[in-house]
Symmetry: C2
Subunit: 389 residues, 2 copies
């Protein structure tokens, strides 16, 4: 299999933004192009990861972004897999490079939802679930992930304080990330006392609605060779990509305590990279709710079933722990601009593997994993990256 690289990755600040999706996408794209040391005319194709731009009255974002970059002839499609749109777009760029179609592609993920009030935004998000059986019946994502949390508590004895410890850790990490949406130190007590959203999940168990964009330049070995003698500053390697689907609706699953799509995608990625969870120095996982991080850690094999909660409470997943999880702050505190999220995870990997993550740097980071889930596991993309050497 050919080598494929992330030449650069960059993002806007996540949070409430006055900018439109197109402006956010252009900001992140321009930063990534500049950081790569290339010009827009080097980009031969692109993907835009986005889920809800119709709410802003703009579809067909590909030509909008490419026109804004001054390269309107360059084709770009939008890819949507709900909250895992970003991983899907990274994967399709990797496949385009593997197939030899292009040598240099731009992937930009973007979402703007702050034009919607909270109820409308929650409704839009629920379009990512099986709306007929879930959203339309009042089961929006807090309720669905609440069911997953309750099932996990019942099966493994997971406690609400353990869930809360995920939020505390990710808020701590986000305090060290200038691009994070939430900069607020919280305690387990704060989480426990926050308003119940969908029992057992409380407000501080949930990620915020964020605006934001993240972009990456994905390229071939041939393209690299043209830049700085084949080893341009910052470049990292894509070791593997795994992807799988899951049932749209929760009621179609025999077990709520695992997302099969994540298990399958993780297995595919580890096999492709010839690695095991023990080889991973840190991971960015999809923690839209605190329970989601625990399920991710078990689905990916970082901890045995039923043991991720205790491990998190014990601090084994902090920046200085045995396997740092979500050093960026995760969806929980870095924020979750839906289409951007999976690409934003790659931005964190890029910064960490280049040892430029400042106060949140994971020491000796060489191999990293990203895990990006669509809805409640209707789809999942897992990627593994390494330093260039």
């Amino acid at each position: 299999m050919k080598n494929v690289y992330v030449l650069s990755a960059a993002m806007s600040k996540y949070g409430k933004s006055p900018l439109s999706a197109r402006e956010l996408a252009l900001e992140a794209s321009r930063k990534a192009i500049e950081k790569a040391g290339i010009t827009p005319s080097d980009v031969q194709g692109g993907f835009v990861a986005n889920a809800f731009s119709l709410s802003e009255k703009q579809g067909h974002l590909g030509p909008i972004v490419m026109s804004g970059l001054g390269i309107p002839d360059v084709p770009a499609s939008t890819i949507e897999s709900a909250c895992s749109s970003g991983a899907s777009a990274i994967r399709e760029a990797w496949i385009n490079i593997l197939a030899g179609i292009y040598d240099c592609m731009l992937v930009v993920g973007v979402e703007r939802v702050s034009q919607l009030d909270t109820i409308t935004a929650t409704t839009y998000f629920s379009f990512g679930s099986d709306y007929v059986f879930e959203g339309a019946c009042g089961a929006s994502f807090p309720g669905l992930y609440g069911s997953i949390a309750r099932a996990h508590m019942t099966k493994y004895g997971t406690r609400e304080e353990e869930l809360a410890s995920v939020a505390v850790k990710n808020h701590d990490n986000a305090l060290k990330n200038p691009n994070a949406h939430l900069h607020k130190k919280i305690t387990i007590d704060d989480v426990m006392k926050s308003p119940v959203v969908a029992s057992p999940l409380k407000l501080y168990d949930a990620c915020p609605f964020s605006d934001g964009a993240a972009a990456a330049i994905i390229c071939s070995e041939e393209f690299l060779k043209r830049l700085n003698g084949g080893k341009p500053e910052g470049v990292i390697k894509i070791l593997a990509s795994g992807r799988a689907g899951g049932t749209g609706a929760l009621h179609q699953r025999p077990d709520l305590t695992t997302l099969k799509a994540a298990v399958l995608a993780g297995r595919e990625a580890f096999k492709m990279a010839s690695l095991t969870p023990k080889d991973i120095d840190f991971a960015e996982v999809h923690d839209c709710f605190t329970i989601a991080e625990l399920v991710a850690l078990e689905d990916l094999g970082f901890f045995p079933r039923g043991e991720a909660a205790k491990a998190t409470l014990e601090g084994r997943t902090t920046l200085k722990g045995e396997i740092p999880i979500n050093p960026s702050g995760g969806l929980k505190a870095k924020g979750h601009p839906v289409g951007a999220t999976g690409v934003g995870q790659v931005v964190e990997v890029y910064e960490q593997l280049n040892h430029k993550a400042g106060e949140r740097q994971v020491s000796d980071a060489r191999i990293a994993l990203t895990h990006n889930v669509g809805a409640t596991g209707g789809s999942c993309g897992v990627h593994i990256f390494s330093s260039f050497d």
Copy 2:
């Protein structure tokens, strides 16, 4: 470059449908799987081409479709490039097979818009243009294509009767297509007397709002070898794929009488196939308005600039003409369910190259081209296909 094949292609009837997008997509997918002589479990990955499913409160169509087919583990993303979503999805499946990621993929394009009234549907469609500069200013697609028509009339002396002759031909072809939305014989006089929508375009210059779905099974040579000794019934070959972008908005273009994305995509496809327009036996082109077909014929090189209108009026693009254009009835009369359209073009190619198109059969059809435009040319995908032998 590896050989890639269309193992089968099938569609729902186009028109007003009581079915939801998911039901339409499943109908077309099941037909394509059955026609291919495979089972759902042979499908390893998929793409759903769709633009407006959020208007039906359902995103993340990939897992919905795969769950409905009983193969929820199989990953599928939605691809959106406005009205060229279908061609984009076919292209990405071709690329996935080329890269060796999968051996057998399902591509299904689908749209349901009849839950929207005409004004709302027109507004949704305008989200495919550059909404800030066009839709929001009242320039919906009839107005934008009206501008293109006016420019073409001014530059080349194209006449309204010549535009009308495109509609007459495509309605004639659709009369022979049981899956077409419109089954109504019309005359040039009927078109000329129909209500003006956006001068010089009249109601009968425009395609209808259609619901519908179309699906194709795309596979590798290795997969074919497992079926019927390597030559399963009906299989056709993808000779080439071209794709390019264009400016989102019309005001950014020096010339309105050509869609640069189509010129570039066509050139790429012809070069890849080592063919010229003279080698094509028939073409399905993107005739969302009558003017669009004329521009397509000139952009693709079937006729010199300014000569497609006269050629059409003279009958040179009819079923018995020198280069039959839109034997299916085209978007104009077969219908235009946005996400389905580019995949539906492949259904027509599949039937024609298998000499199973009944009364609308193009004699001796061996090589065919599809041309699928997003919005006013923000993107364009061109594919060339041949019979198996």
